[in-house]
């Protein structure tokens, strides 16, 4: 992405740096000034009639009357509302396939599975979801490493905001008993421990198998950073003694990410679909030292364990169903529980997840929260600031403030109104989306016939298939294309 992008005529005023002889294309990159009617900053009060200045892909100023450099592009849209991008705290979409058929696979990375031209990312861009934490699906015990990406770019490197965002850990796997699943989890950590102890023992016995295995796996165990051993760190309830005797480069690559998790150097996205799993999952996290780096991804009646979650101090990503419905066994009537309300009451930080495959409905979820009594500021934060912080990207995403990534949505209205649309998207200071040029919007939203569809009959020269007569033009009600 090296050139400036197309713009709607009359909609965007551009002051391109065409006078600057030195690489006109580069000069415009990541440098833009956006003047809108209202800025919902998500960092303090909204700013009316304000300007967002972005230099080198970073926001440098958000204020009324802020000025960009003389050669910056200018978007002049006082009719629009600026908003930080929505942040999807957890998603298993956009990949070639969401699951690998391996029970314990911390060595996998979604980087090898993410499909940059997936329709999912296109849709995210259209809906203003500007950061997505892509995580493996739930068909595993320990899944691969996730990655936070932007919905824009032709390669995974272009898209990446944060590699290795965390390991997927699954406490309740669909179609499997909870007992077996938790057993699988415990066994995974047990096997890590056995592996490490064997390395230490082999070292004591003078065996060289670990080094040869490393060479076989294509790693260089003799590289300087791999040669060092280090005592086991972290808060796990178990420790492998004398681990410092083993060069880290000799730890099996299939186990190494799990060791990092246990040592507190990786995050875990711990998935639970019920209250009972929450308790077990938190126990596993505590025993193995990654509780402090855990984000619970919950569904079903997991909210019933809200007290335990609050006690453990971990944030949660809420499942798509915000209103939990169960049947009262005595009266036979239904009881509704508004799940975000429970977590708010318990002071647990929560982020929202989109409802369904393609609606990218973070705004809808946030609006629903407002409907059920959560203050607007908190509801908006649950789909912007909070997920950004949960992903440990709070310094880069989630609000419009100086120093943060130059990501801005230009909305036609209030971010929570059903009629609002994303008009423009600026990513890292570059205009990457313009709704008026979005062909698919015309097809999906505006009901424009797709070019390759069968020709339609307007009724003009149509012959009635039953009477065989030509239809009366006056009978069309005088309405014609």
């Amino acid at each position: 992405m090296t050139t400036t992008m197309t713009r709607a005529t009359g909609a965007v005023t551009l002051t391109t740096a065409c006078l600057c002889l030195a690489s006109a294309a580069d000069a415009g990159e990541g440098r833009i000034a956006i003047h809108v009617g209202r800025i919902v900053t998500m960092a303090g009060a909204d700013i009316e009639d304000g300007t967002i200045v972005i230099e080198n892909g970073r926001i440098t100023s958000v204020a009324k009357g802020a000025k960009g450099s003389w050669d910056a592009e200018v978007i002049e849209r006082p009719d629009l509302v600026a908003f930080p991008g929505w942040v999807e705290a957890h998603s298993s979409r956009g990949m070639d396939r969401p699951n690998e058929n391996i029970e314990v696979a911390p060595f996998l990375d979604v980087r090898d599975s993410i499909d940059p031209i997936s329709f999912y990312f296109e849709d995210c861009l259209r809906q203003g979801v500007l950061a997505i934490n892509v995580q493996q699906g739930n068909l595993a015990a320990i899944g691969g490493q996730g990655r936070v990406v932007k919905p824009y770019g032709l390669t995974i490197e272009d898209m990446t905001i944060k590699p290795a965002s965390g390991l997927k850990v699954v406490a309740s796997r669909p179609g499997r008993s909870r007992a077996l699943q938790v057993q699988s989890l415990r066994r995974a950590f047990n096997e890590l421990r056995i592996h490490l102890e064997k390395l230490v023992q082999d070292k004591k016995d003078g065996k060289d198998t670990a080094r040869r295995e490393a060479l076989f796996q294509g790693r260089d165990p003799d590289k300087e950073e791999n040669k060092k051993g280090r005592a086991m760190e972290g808060a796990a309830t178990w420790k492998v003694k004398d681990l410092e005797s083993v060069p880290r480069g000799q730890v099996d690559e299939k186990q190494e990410p799990l060791l990092r998790l246990v040592e507190g150097k990786l995050m875990a996205f711990l998935s639970c679909d019920g209250a009972i799993s929450v308790v077990q999952a938190l126990d596993v996290a505590r025993e193995n030292g990654f509780l402090a780096n855990t984000v619970l991804v919950i569904d079903g009646d997991a909210w019933k364990a809200a007290d335990r979650i609050a006690e453990a101090g971990v944030p949660v990503v809420l499942g798509p169903t915000l209103l939990y419905v169960e049947r009262d066994p005595i009266t036979g009537k239904e009881i509704e529980t508004f799940v975000p309300g429970v977590f708010r009451e318990k002071k647990v930080r929560f982020a929202l997840q989109s409802i369904n495959p393609s609606a990218q409905s973070l705004w809808f979820q946030a609006a629903t929260c407002v409907g059920y009594g959560i203050p607007r500021e908190e509801a908006l934060a649950a789909a912007t600031k909070v997920p950004a912080e949960i992903l440990r990207l709070g310094d880069r995403l989630g609000s419009l403030e100086a120093g943060k990534d130059g990501n801005v949505l230009l909305l036609s209205g209030d971010p929570l109104a059903v009629t609002t649309t994303v008009q423009f998207v600026v990513l890292d200071g570059n205009l990457v989306y313009d709704r008026s040029k979005d062909v698919r919007v015309q097809q999906i939203i505006e009901g424009v016939e797709q070019p390759n569809a069968a020709p339609t009959n307007t009724g003009d020269d149509e012959v009635d298939p039953h009477s065989g007569e030509k239809k009366d033009k006056a009978g069309t009600g005088g309405k014609k294309d």
Binding site: T321, L322, L323, R327, D328, T331, G332, K333, E334, I335, E336, T337, F338, P340, G341, V342, F343, R344, E345, I355, N356, P357, S358, A359, S361, F364, A367, T368, V370, G371, Y372, G373, I374, R376, L416, A417, V418, T419, T421, Q443, I444, I445, E446, G447, V448, E449, T456, N457, T458, G459, D464, P465, H466, S467, G475, T476, G477, K479, K480
Partner: protein, 417 residues
């Protein structure tokens, strides 16, 4: 006394006595009457199950009652003309044309579905048999709350003759492979077969070939226009088939001779109506839209554009929206109205599409669909601007009885009234 909607009152016990229609004074920031006369900071007074006054004069002390509800907005109860009864026992599949069967016989007033609809602000529904038959039978217009009896909740019995074009009536049927073991080998297996069954039923009626058929009287009434015909047709080809069928009845001499050439059609679930809106405008056929699809296409692989309501409305086609009976957060009727606004309808038009227009299509507009003095006191109380996902139904009144109280069952929510 101000009713602050006591927690768990509604859930207290199932054996409570039937509540009475109380005299309510509803104070609202916005009263959307649906008649074009909207008011701010107004009162709606309810007496004896009916709306007794709608007034902007908040000082009408003599009219006010002890029981006051304070809310942000009030609209008329929502009307959903496309509720699907998912119960398989609602359709008699041993015959594919069963015009005389009543879906009311298969409904259960104790079913939780009614409560769910009530919680989403839907107070009146058209309940139709499952679309497994070509002509499925007679649908009924019901209130979603009231005495626990279908008869007592009925607004209009035998309101609509219900049938279907397209794939639903033929799905799963098959030719007899060797030995016919059940009726699935006799029912139609294609769209052609379904359409033929419609025409056969209509022609047999006009020509008097079905004198002994118990469904004949119903078909006669339908062809004479005394009973509207609601036809499910998702795709553009099925919509065309339905429109052409009606035009055939209107123009063929057999029907004119029998005095049966004035049927009234409503196309239900017309997802692809946006493709040939002129066709519907020309034939003056009203449309009920299915829920907007979350991901691409709807049932029958039909493609529903988000501006379909707007396109039809601009051509003068009456459009009603439907949730198909779903109370899911993103599919409920109030949200459908919001989606239609996103597709270009104004708030007033969206309101009409979920209240007065479906009431008109069902022929119950003298009782429900707007807030007017003398109409049923079916009211929805909203926490914010109706149809925005950020507003919710905090109360539903049916026939003057506060049947649902929104804040009660939700933990963690704070209410300000």
């Amino acid at each position: 006394m101000i009713a602050f909607l006591t927690p768990f009152l509604a859930l207290a016990a199932i054996q409570t006595q039937e509540p009475e229609a109380r005299a309510w004074t509803i104070q609202a920031e916005r009263v959307y009457t649906g008649t074009g006369r909207n008011m701010e900071k107004a009162l709606v007074l309810v007496r004896g199950g009916q709306v007794s006054a709608v007034t902007a004069n908040a000082d009408e002390e003599k009219e006010r009652t002890e029981d006051v509800l304070r809310v942000y907005a009030v609209t008329a109860g929502l009307v959903d003309a496309g509720v699907r009864v998912t119960n398989w026992t609602s359709v008699e599949q041993s015959n594919e044309v069963t015009p005389n069967l009543r879906v009311a016989d298969a409904l259960d007033p104790f079913a939780l579905e009614w409560d769910r609809l009530l919680r989403t602000g839907v107070t009146t529904v058209l309940a139709s048999p499952l679309d497994r038959n070509v002509i499925g039978g007679l649908s009924v217009v019901l209130k979603t709350a009231g005495p626990e009896s279908i008869a007592a909740r009925t607004v209009k019995a035998d309101a609509v003759l219900r049938g279907s074009m397209g794939g639903d009536p033929s799905a799963g049927n098959h030719p007899a492979f060797g030995r016919p073991t059940d009726f699935y080998s006799r029912r139609p297996t294609t769209r052609m077969g379904v359409e033929w069954e419609w025409r056969k039923a209509f022609f047999d009626t006009a020509l008097g070939h079905n004198e002994s058929d118990p469904g004949r009287a119903t078909l006669v009434a339908a062809l004479q226009g005394k009973l509207p015909i609601f036809i499910q047709a998702w795709t553009t080809q099925d919509i065309r088939t339905a429109v052409f069928l009606r035009e055939e009845v209107q123009t063929r001499p057999e029907f004119a001779a029998a005095g049966m050439n004035t049927p009234r059609f409503v196309i239900d679930a017309a997802a692809e109506a946006w493709k040939e809106p002129q066709l519907l405008a020309r034939s003056r056929t009203a449309v009920i839209l299915p829920p907007f699809p979350a991901a691409g296409r709807t049932r029958e692989n039909a493609f529903m554009a988000w501006n379909v309501a707007k396109v039809l409305k601009d051509l003068g086609v009456p459009v009603a929206l439907s949730s198909h009976g779903s109370a899911d957060m993103e599919q409920r009727l109030s949200v459908q109205a919001g989606y239609a606004m996103a597709g270009g309808l104004t708030f007033e038009e969206a309101l009409a599409a979920v209240t007065s227009i479906p009431a008109m299509l069902l022929g119950v507009q003298d009782r429900v669909g707007t807030i007017e003095v003398g109409k049923d006191a079916d009211l929805v109380l909203w926490s914010g601007e109706p149809f925005q996902p950020g507003a919710r139904v905090v109360g539903t009144i049916v026939d003057g009885v506060l049947r649902y109280e929104g804040w009660t069952a939700v933990q963690g929510a704070t209410a300000e009234r």
